[in-house]
Symmetry: C2
Subunit: 514 residues, 2 copies
């Protein structure tokens, strides 16, 4: 990765340093920082989603934009490496952005008639902006460290409605995307190099990267590919016991549902099994539920609901679920919202020790507050127009349209994968990704070895060079030994790019056939 | 601090936990996390700007808002603890917010005539929004990890214009406020518990808090209160040598200019002295220049200009300045912009090893990107309307008005402090703060001891209880032994609140007079 990064920003920095020194004709002196004396925990961290391939794809994109890409065998770059819908032509939801425009310029509210007549703003847009402005005063002002009180109330109501159980705004922490929430929670949990956190494999690399930076242990447990990437509680228990036997102090278990990169969606009974294990073993549950509305099969079932159900049930006779610590994370970046660039999200903490919560409060205070306009988008996501309100018909049409489009493309891609030699893919259940297995011919494995690459890196790099499509090799997420995968989003519009993959794959397989 | 935090969010969490367990009539089981087993580096961190006093003041504010504060001896809370101008009625700059509104809802651009006629949008507002939209595509899309390329170009041009030396967009990293930039740089620099960073005392507690969290050493050097909180390079050298003798690997020196909390503004020769020391001792210079436009005396002189001047000078015969590593930070939160809630900023890195830069790139990638609308505000801050452009007259009027207001209030407060018994204050030079010394009577010191408080905490708490004005005790920033200070912003409108302080101070001194 390092070499590849250098070809991006690093190379420019090199040029610049050379230029800075050039005027004096002297070789520069030794610096304070070098690759061997900086924080080695950062050096160890891996984050493939924006790694070598992503950087190379940006270089192709820049080249094409300058009209310099005549030699390339493609005319556009498709970023299927990252769940970034609005980079790929997904239109933002009108209600959300109309409200945001008024938040940014409240002077627009001084001529409501023109808003309505010239721009089609409905009365509920205007009312919502006024309500939010009252709560945050200005999107240019810092809010409370844990987020604006009124917005946290809306989030609590949303959770109540979703789960049928009360939620307390004081337990809600708004964050700059779910990533920032994960970072906060991990900073609190990871007390020493012996602290361990159970992480599903494959996983979204935020988790392993954050654990690396914090010098704590990732305790991997494998998902069951054959049962649509389900969670087998026995495999979690086995991983836990093994780690404990090695002296690791396992504190928490991460579950990503619906799954990233897998696209799987967990059944309620699996969720409850994880909660039971966590209660028995005193583990914090970190439920990454950012894809909770990206569900194509069945209905989303939250960890919070599972926990409250268990607390009411016979299984809680001994009170073992009473203080189970659950942090569940959500985001405006995914779902049908897709507002990644606004960096908004929240986490709800239940069962945490108040003294620990006070430390979390202090920790987030150091960074002052999450972006306030992002907080406002959290509010409208949690509290969208409802039937009977003027903005509802358009909202519903846009929301359903995005959902339908995602579903269609997921299945189109799935069907294409099913036809491809050596490719096996679980049926799309949720999230924004497919994570097929690929079986490559021995000659391709050898060629990868010669190029000093993992076979899946080799495959994805060749795909990029041949088609302009950027996907992420399975090694970036973790995979069982001797298996190969890749992750692709199904966000890019149209299906032309799917046939680019099919064509490349056939040629690749033919080239390396024994 | 812990007890105070509990009275805020913690108390609610406690109530909630009790409620969750109540249904079963069982005492909850032991949790995974408690105050003694979480990351103790976080526990050690202190951040007084949003600590006990700030939380208590928010409680007063909430009480008054509900109409329940009849028993309080004041009718409004003044948050002079934090540089949050738009919380205190500072109006955002119209050009910035008009552009932001179009970024949030590009559909407004479909009726330019109405924008102009009904809302007074000028042609340069519309042109700027179109240019930015071309660069970022959508404010809802992730940008490149280091920030949108076109915005980094504008920042580079701004730096070039300010300093008279070229700047390279590849060396610019956009960030979620300057705080996030400091956090990134410290994460890279702090390699072990023996890593040390020179930090001015008094300082903005972000620095000590971040070093605590990273388990690295703060190496304090004292600013010279008597010479308007200037930097004495000899005192930095003494602190450095002392730390090195103790086995600390000192890697970097932080300078905050203009000063927070001090309000001091450094002379060019002092800046060059620090750079010389850094070059000799191989220290990274972290120049916190977020108050660069809040200068009331003389002109702002940047570390970057100082470095380039030195690189061209005779002092660089041996090339010692060629690879001096300088990171200078700026923000949209301060100046006349005051857009704290948007969480925008940037840092420029010069002289860094490209391999180190590649690690910084990877580190920021894990959090994906800074808020994109915040990035857009960075752009308009760096590239505001200029003379001859339609939005210029209003921009100039607003900018100058804010500057004048800040200056007037700074001096009004300074004059009031000069009249107060036992209070000494340096004349306002820059930033948004005054940091007077207070000498309290022995009886007050005793009373504080009895209340188990630092004397400055005791004073500030009594001020809050009596007047509703929230300021921050000097102990939150660090101060020489046996001295007491407090920090106050001069952002709150009007001067009524200044006389509330004067009145309280007289009564306080009378009460504790021997």
């Amino acid at each position: 990765m390092s070499a590849a990064l250098l070809s991006g920003s690093g190379a420019a920095a090199l040029r610049h340093n050379a230029a800075a020194g050039a005027g004096n004709g002297h070789v520069g002196t030794v610096r304070s920082l070098n690759i061997d004396n900086i924080n080695q925990n950062v050096r160890e961290a891996k984050y493939a989603v924006r790694g070598e391939l992503a950087i190379k794809s940006e270089e192709y994109r820049a080249k094409l934009a300058k009209g310099e890409g005549k030699d390339l065998p493609f005319d556009s770059v498709i970023s299927a490496n990252i769940g970034n819908p609005q980079q790929l032509d997904q239109k933002p939801i009108t209600f959300f952005r109309q409200v945001a425009s008024l938040m940014e310029n409240p002077e627009l509210l001084e001529n409501e008639e023109a808003l309505v007549k010239s721009f089609g703003y409905k009365s509920d847009v205007i009312a919502r902006a006024k309500k939010l402005l009252k709560d945050v005063r200005s999107v240019g002002a810092y809010s409370q460290s844990q987020g604006a009180p009124g917005i946290r109330q809306s989030v609590a109501k949303f959770i109540e409605k979703r789960d049928g159980y009360p939620a307390d705004p004081e337990n809600i922490y708004l964050s700059a995307g779910a990533s920032s929430g994960v970072n906060t929670l991990m900073n609190i949990i990871c007390a020493s190099p012996k602290t361990g956190v159970l992480v599903p494999i494959p996983q979204y690399p935020l988790y392993t990267a954050t654990l690396s930076v914090l010098n704590a242990k990732c305790v991997p447990y494998y998902l069951e590919e054959e049962s649509n990437w389900g969670t087998d509680v026995n495999s979690i228990r086995t991983a836990l016991k093994k780690a404990q036997a090695e002296g690791i102090d396992v504190r928490a278990v991460v579950v990503i549902n619906p799954g990233n990169p897998t696209g799987g969606s967990l059944k309620p009974e699996d969720i409850c099994s994880v909660l039971e294990l966590a209660a028995e073993e005193k583990l914090v549950v970190l439920a990454d539920e950012v894809y909770q509305t990206n569900v194509f099969e069945g209905e989303f079932f939250s960890f919070k609901k599972g926990l409250r159900d268990l607390q009411k049930s016979d299984k809680n006779k001994d009170g073992k679920f009473n203080n189970l610590e659950l942090a569940s994370l959500h985001s405006i970046s995914k779902g049908m919202v897709g507002e990644c660039g606004h960096r908004g999200g929240y986490y709800e903490m239940v069962g945490f020790d108040p003294e620990v919560v006070a430390q979390i409060y202090k920790f987030v205070s150091i960074m002052l507050c999450p972006p306030v306009i992002g907080q406002c988008i959290v509010e409208v996501m949690c509290n969208p127009p409802v039937e009977g309100e003027p903005s509802y018909p358009l909202y519903k049409q846009e929301y359903d349209g995005i959902f339908k489009g995602l579903r269609e493309r997921a299945f189109a891609l799935y069907e294409a994968f099913k036809q491809m030699e050596g490719v096996e893919c679980q049926s799309p259940q949720g999230s924004m990704y497919l994570f097929p297995t690929i079986k490559l011919p021995p000659k391709a494995i050898e060629a990868a070895k010669k190029a000093d690459k993992n076979p899946d890196d080799f495959y994805c790099l060749q795909l990029l060079d041949a088609t302009g499509i950027c996907i992420v090799p399975g090694s970036g997420f973790g995979q069982k030994e001797d298996t190969l995968h890749f992750r692709t989003t199904f966000l890019a519009p149209g299906t032309d790019w799917v046939s680019r993959i099919t064509k490349f794959h056939k040629e690749f397989m033919d080239r390396y056939r024994s």
